[in-house]
Amino acid sequence: MNLQRRDFFKVLSAGVVTATTSRTAFARPTKTMPPESVGLLYDATLCIGCKACEVGCKTRNNKPSVHSEIEEHFNVNGTWDDARDLDSATMNKIKVYKNGTAAVKDQEIDGFSFVKRACMHCYDPDCQSACPTSALQKNPVTGIVTWDRDACCGCRYCQIACQYLIPKFEYHKALPSLVKCEMCHHILETGGITGCAEYCPTGATIFGKAKDLLAEAHKRLNLKNGERYDFPVRTVNAKDKKSRPVGKYVNYIYGEKEGGGAQYIMLSAVPFEKLGLPKMPERSGAARSETLQHTLYTGFIGPIVLLGAMVTAAYRSVKKHQSDE
C-alpha cells in the first residue's frame, strides 16, 4: 500500500516540477504578421461620423438595418439611423466619445471624437485559439479571420475569449450564426476592397497591405500638427487624395502591439482608452492559454504517465479486494 502511494506522489511531483520549471521551454510565443496580410487604417481625426462605412458594410454583406434599439430607446418611429452597438446584424460601428461641452472635434477635454469598431483581425487571435471546432480560422496568407458555418457548434467560447467583444451571436434564432467582420474577403477575392473603405468619403478608413498601412500610420505620426498633407482616400496607395491639415495625434498606433498586433490599426487625437479600446499586454491571451495547455499535455507524456500510475494502482487494489472476498 505504501509503495503505491509513494509511486503516485513521485509521479505527481515529477509532473508538477516539469510543469512549473519548463514553462519557458514549452512557452508558445505570440504569433506574428503573415507577410501578405491585408488590413485597415482608421484615422479618427479624419472621421466626420457620417457612418457611410456602416452603410457600406451592410450593403456589401447583405445585412439588414437595425432600428429597434434606437426606436425603443428614444420612443420614436421610422428612424433612419441604425444599431447602437455591434450586434448580430452590425459588423462595423461608429461610436462617439464626448467630454464636457463636447465643443471641439478631436479634443480630449470638452471635446469629442469618433471611433470605428470592428474585428481587429489579430495576428494571434484569441478566438481562433479558443474555438474547439476550428470554425474561426486565420487565413495564413491574407490573415483574415473567417467563420466557418459548417464547423461551428455555437459554444460561444470565442465571445468569452475576444477582449474586444467582437464576435456576435444570433441568440434570437433557432439556427443561429456567429457574426463578425470578415474583411469582405468575398469582395477582395474579386479584386475589390472592403465596403467600409470603399464608402468612406474622407479617407478616415483606408484599405491596403498591413505593412503599408503601418508605414503610413508611422508617417502620419511624424508629421507636424497643422501642416497640410494629402490623405489618400479608399486605399493607402490611392491617387485620389484629400488635402487637409494634419491633426494632433496621440503618439501611438493602436493595434500595432496589442495582443501581439492586429491588422486593423488606428490613429486618434484622443487617448485610445477613452475611445473604449482596452489596454492590452503584448503577449496574446492565446499564447498564455496554450502555453499552459501544452505544458501540461505536451506529447501526452503527463497524462499517459499518470494513466499508467492510476491503472497500476487500480489493478493492485481490485486484485486485493477480489482476493479478500
Binding site: 452603410v55 428614444f74 441604425d82 460601428k93 461608429i94 461610436k95 462617439v96
Partner: protein
C-alpha cells in the same frame, strides 16, 4: 413706379389702397405673420408689423447697383406673397433703382440727387454688387462716377445700409481668384458705419423684406453675427436645416449623379455639398414659392456655399466641405452603450429567491433532524452508560 408724396400717410389709408389693389386685410395680416415667423419673432409681433406697415409713411429707399448680375433684384421681383411689386412699392418709396426706373439718364440721376437731399439721414441704402477698387475703381462707372466714389458719397448719408447679395457682402463672383478688378464688399468700403450683409447668390428676397420690416417696426437692426449678417437668416448652417440631414447622419450618400442614392434623394456630401460650412436659411425659406425642394440640394445639386466668403466661388464645387459642426446628435451611440436587456427580471429574481428559500428551509430541516437524532443517540449512550 414710385409714387412719392402722392399717397396719404394717415392710418388706415394704406390698407384701403391695398384693398383697392386686391389685397384683402386677411392676406395682409398673413403677410405680416409670415414676416414675423421668418425672423423668428413671436407671432404677437405680426400685429405690430401690421400697424407699422399700415400706418407708417413710406420710407425712402435708394437701391444702387455696382458689379452685379442683377440677380438679387430679379429674385426680389419674384417674391409672391403678396405680389411684391405692389407691396414694395407701397411699403417703401423706391426712389432709385436702375432696374426698375422708367426714366433714364440725366433725369433719373437728378431724381436720385433730389431724394438724397430731401431725405438725408432718413433713407435706407440698399447696395447690390461689389465695388472694384483697382486702378482707381474704373471698372464700374455709373453716370461718369466710379462705384467707389458713389458709395463713399451716398453711404454716410443713409440711415441704414444694406448690402444685398454675396457681391455686395464680400465681393461675390467678381472677387474669385485672381480678382482682377479688386472687387470688395460694401462694408470693406464703408468702414465707419454698420452695414447689414445679406449674402446669397441670389440673396433670398424674404431675408431682405424681413430685415427692412424689422427696422421699420422696431427702429433698430436685427441681431447680427460677427459678419454683419442677421442671425435669424444666417445663424445656422445649411447642414443644420437640410432635409437630407438624416441621410448624412445615417451615412447614405449619393456617389455619382444619377445613381440609386441620388435618385432616392440621399445626402450630397460626397458630391461636394458645402452645406456643412455654409450659413444660410435656404432649406427653410426655399425659392420662388413653388413648394418643397425648391432649393439647390432639394433639386439634387450640392450646395456650393454661395453665401460664404472663402467657400462660394473659391472652393471647387465638387470638393468636399469641411464639416464645421460635427457635434453629433444626442442619439449618437456612445462608447459604452448600456444594454437594456439581459439584466434581472421579476420572474428570474422571484424564482431564484424561491429556490434559495426552499433550499435554506430544507437545509435547516435536515440539520434539525440530524441534531435531534444526534441528541437521541447521546441520550441513549448516556443511558446505556448509567
Amino acid at each position: 413706379m414710385s409714387k412719392e408724396g402722392s399717397i396719404d400717410v394717415n392710418t388706415g389709408q394704406r390698407l384701403t389702397s391695398l384693398e383697392q389693389k386686391g389685397v384683402s386685410r386677411r392676406d395682409f395680416l398673413k403677410f405680416c405673420t409670415a414676416v414675423a415667423a421668418t425672423m423668428g419673432m413671436p407671432l404677437s409681433m405680426a400685429e405690430v408689423i401690421a400697424q407699422t406697415v399700415g400706418s407708417a409713411k413710406r420710407p425712402p429707399v435708394i437701391w444702387l447697383h455696382f458689379q452685379e448680375c442683377t440677380g438679387c433684384t430679379e429674385s426680389l421681383l419674384r417674391a409672391t406673397h403678396p405680389s411684391v411689386e405692389h407691396l414694395v412699392l407701397d411699403l417703401i418709396s423706391l426712389d432709385y433703382s436702375e432696374t426698375l426706373n422708367v426714366a433714364a439718364g440725366h433725369q433719373v440721376e437728378e431724381a436720385l440727387h433730389q431724394s438724397i437731399e430731401a431725405n438725408k439721414g432718413k433713407f435706407i441704402l440698399v447696395c447690390e454688387g461689389s465695388v472694384p477698387i483697382n486702378d482707381g475703381g474704373i471698372y464700374c462707372k455709373i453716370g461718369g462716377r466710379t462705384a467707389l466714389e458713389i458709395v463713399k458719397d451716398i453711404g454716410p448719408k443713409a440711415a441704414a445700409v444694406v448690402a444685398i447679395g454675396s457681391c455686395a457682402s464680400w465681393g461675390g463672383v467678381q472677387s474669385a481668384s485672381p480678382n482682377p478688378t479688386g472687387a470688395k464688399g460694401i462694408h470693406e468700403i464703408l468702414t465707419d458705419q454698420a452695414v447689414i450683409n445679406l449674402p446669397g447668390c441670389p440673396a433670398s428676397p424674404y431675408n431682405l423684406l424681413s430685415t427692412v420690416l424689422y427696422f421699420l417696426t422696431l427702429g433698430k437692426l436685427p441681431e447680427l453675427d460677427a459678419m454683419g449678417r442677421p442671425k435669424f437668416a444666417y445663424g445656422r448652417l445649411v447642414h443644420e436645416n437640410c432635409e437630407r440631414r438624416p441621410h448624412f447622419d445615417a451615412g447614405r450618400f449619393a456617389e455619382v449623379f444619377g445613381d440609386d442614392g441620388h435618385r432616392q434623394g440621399w445626402c450630397l456630401y460626397k458630391l461636394g455639398c458645402k452645406g456643412p460650412e455654409t450659413y444660410a436659411n435656404c432649406p427653410i425659406q426655399l425659392y420662388c414659392d413653388v413648394g418643397s425642394n425648391a432649393w439647390p440640394v432639394g433639386t439634387g445639386h450640392p450646395c456650393f456655399g454661395c453665401t460664404e466668403k472663402g467657400v462660394g466661388f473659391t472652393k471647387p464645387i465638387h470638393q468636399q466641405a469641411t464639416v464645421f459642426t460635427v457635434t453629433p446628435p444626442a442619439t449618437y451611440p456612445d462608447i459604452v452603450e448600456e444594454k437594456t436587456s439581459g439584466g434581472w427580471t421579476i420572474g428570474g429574481a422571484a424564482v431564484a429567491g424561491a429556490l434559495a428559500g426552499a433550499a435554506v428551509t430544507a437545509g435547516i430541516k435536515v440539520t434539525k433532524r440530524l441534531a435531534d437524532e444526534e441528541g437521541v443517540k447521546e441520550d441513549k449512550a448516556a443511558k446505556d452508560k448509567s
